[in-house]
């Protein structure tokens, strides 16, 4: 790689067409652009399964990259390719979720904590008593399973809370909204909603159907964060789940390539909860929100201490050697 005068980094991601993942990719590009040692970035970014991600990783190995930063579709499924990569001297960094391959670095949003934090806030908000709606992501996907563990942990701490509806939105806005309409139509009352990132449409469903709002927990997507300050009577909380973790992953990969590996191979980025029920919380939200940003993008576009790009750079979404 040094022969080329810099590092080439490969990126692998398996979900396309979702604001969070798009932000992650843009953060990766922007960070690669500002890293002086990175001269090339190869991005394999498409909708596929673990077998497809294996294919992409193998292709990245063939392309001769120096490091691979990936958002793994599954912690266990990719080991064969990751081990081959490391055997070839390639640095492997998993972002957003972990992998079990020995020697791979993990820079992960703590998904279990993400769910736990939001659920606990919601249950506390209800005074430990009440019925909640639990709207999950895609059944059988690792991230959903991790979040479910966190949610259940919080649920175990609040015996007075009951889940009246549990449903999978498939992480699709339209399905989440439709499902909420169905719940509202049954006339069975409930006291709070926890959703796995499909959030602003849930608020819309309440407003459009004229039902009284209940506390809602979502993610720090630009649209929902804005609602937290603008929708009359909405009590809610956004839990950060920065897509910019991708940028941090690039930064980590470069550090390792430069011989500055961290002591532990696992770094967890812990989520933060922003709620709009206290003045302090509202102030945080006001500071974080960005009404011009694509509403599906998380507003936490950077992670202090990890990423170095500017707002303009991540929005430009250009990597090294482009534009």
């Amino acid at each position: 790689a040094d022969a080329h005068g810099g590092y080439t980094i490969g990126v692998s991601n398996t979900v396309q067409g979702n604001g969070w993942r798009e932000e992650m990719i843009c953060a990766m590009r922007a960070q690669a652009l500002v890293e002086p040692d990175v001269t090339g970035l190869i991005v394999a970014h498409r909708n596929t399964d673990s077998a497809g991600q294996l294919e992409d990783i193998n292709n990245l190995i063939e392309a001769g990259v120096d490091a691979i930063v990936l958002n793994p579709s599954n912690p266990d499924a990719l080991n064969s390719a990751l081990e081959a990569a490391m055997a070839a001297g390639i640095v492997v960094v998993a972002v957003d979720a972990g992998v079990t391959a020995e020697g791979a670095y993990i820079l992960s949003n703590n998904q279990e904590e993400y769910a736990y934090l939001g659920a606990r806030w919601l249950f506390e908000q209800l005074g430990g008593e009440g019925d909640v709606v639990y709207m999950r992501g895609i059944a059988g996907v690792s991230a959903d399973t991790d979040r479910d563990n966190g949610f259940r942990r919080a649920l175990a701490e609040f015996p007075g809370i009951e889940v009246v509806h549990e449903v999978f939105t498939g992480w699709q806005q339209d399905q989440g909204k439709q499902q909420m309409f169905d719940f509202l139509a049954t006339g069975i009352p409930f006291d709070g909603v926890w959703t796995s990132g499909i959030d602003n449409v849930i608020v819309d469903a309440f407003v459009e159907s004229g039902a009284p709002l209940v506390p809602i927990v979502g993610a720090d997507n630009a649209g929902f964060v804005q609602y937290l300050t603008t929708v009359e009577g909405l009590q809610g909380a956004a839990v950060t789940n920065p897509g910019s973790v991708g940028g941090a992953g690039i930064a980590l990969a470069v550090d390792i390539l430069n011989g500055e590996a961290p002591d532990s191979t696992t770094v967890l980025v812990d989520p933060v909860l922003w709620e709009n029920t206290t003045d302090e919380g509202r102030a945080t939200i006001m500071a974080a929100q960005n009404p011009n940003l694509d509403p599906e993008w998380p507003v936490s576009v950077s992670i202090p201490g990890w990423t170095d790009y500017t707002m303009e750079q991540i929005i430009a979404c250009e990597g090294p050697g482009e534009g």
């Binding site: 596929t48 399964d49 077998a51 063939e62 266990d76 499924a77 064969s80 059944a139 690792s142 482009e322």
Partner: protein
Amino acid sequence: MSFVRKNAWTLGLIALFFVLLGVTRLIQPSFGVSGLESLARAALPFAFATAAMAVVVIVGGIDLSVASMMAVCSVTAAVLMQTMGGVPAILITLAVGALMGLINGVLIVVTRVPDIVVTLAMLFVWEGTALLILNSPGGAAAPFLREAIVGSVLIDGLPQALIVMAVIVALIWVPLKRSKLGLAIYATGSDENAAFRSGVAVGRTKAAAYAFCGLFSAFGGLSLLALTGIGEPVPGPYLLAAVAAVVLGGVTLGGGIGGLLGPIIAVFILRIIRTILTLAAVDPNVTTIVEGTIMVGVVMFGAFLMMRGRGPT
């Protein structure tokens, strides 16, 4: 001469594949044995999904539940392999696959609901079944299964995954195609009414073709397990890819024409295009555009050739 003409499309695809292989070498001179091996591995689930789809397309049907059946087989095998030996687990999985296919086929014949509706419904049924078997990724693969598709055999550059696939497909397809049943499958796909009048048990033939579809899907599920080492209940992107490869491979939607070789080569072409685009560091969004364009372009080109070949000279 007649052989060339009869197989012109397949031969053209093979030529295209080798051209693309050359392009790959041009972009990445170091692309070699390991590249071929990973290409063959990546093609494995697609190839089986495509073979599965091809059989039912030839009989004049379509099976939208291929990817879901693969998911069921992958989790079934992954769960079984934790408690029993690899070989019995594989055999049970293959039986499960064939049974699922048979259920699809029998439902189509008995209910007289169009095949696209039945298999669309069964897509959900099998997807749900996979989730009921394993509600999150898990299980394990027997080590021999994982090793079966790694490395090369005989000579370097002849990927073991390719050989495994070729042997399985050939062992099932060649005898089938030669048999009365195979003939009946082609006849039914070509003209169901005429086949019935020629003495073919149309219903049984269809059901059998769907059972073979299920069997190939089971191999697809097993290859997913072999690749990843775990069972994943969520169906992968194999349905539309299989349909595309089947059509690219010269099988006519509507039935009666084509074989398995063309579609499987088409799978390799689609896979190597992805490799080339990655190696060339093409913007991933543009990659999608290029893939779509190539798919359409190849078929368009084929139609163009066909028109010229057929037109009066």
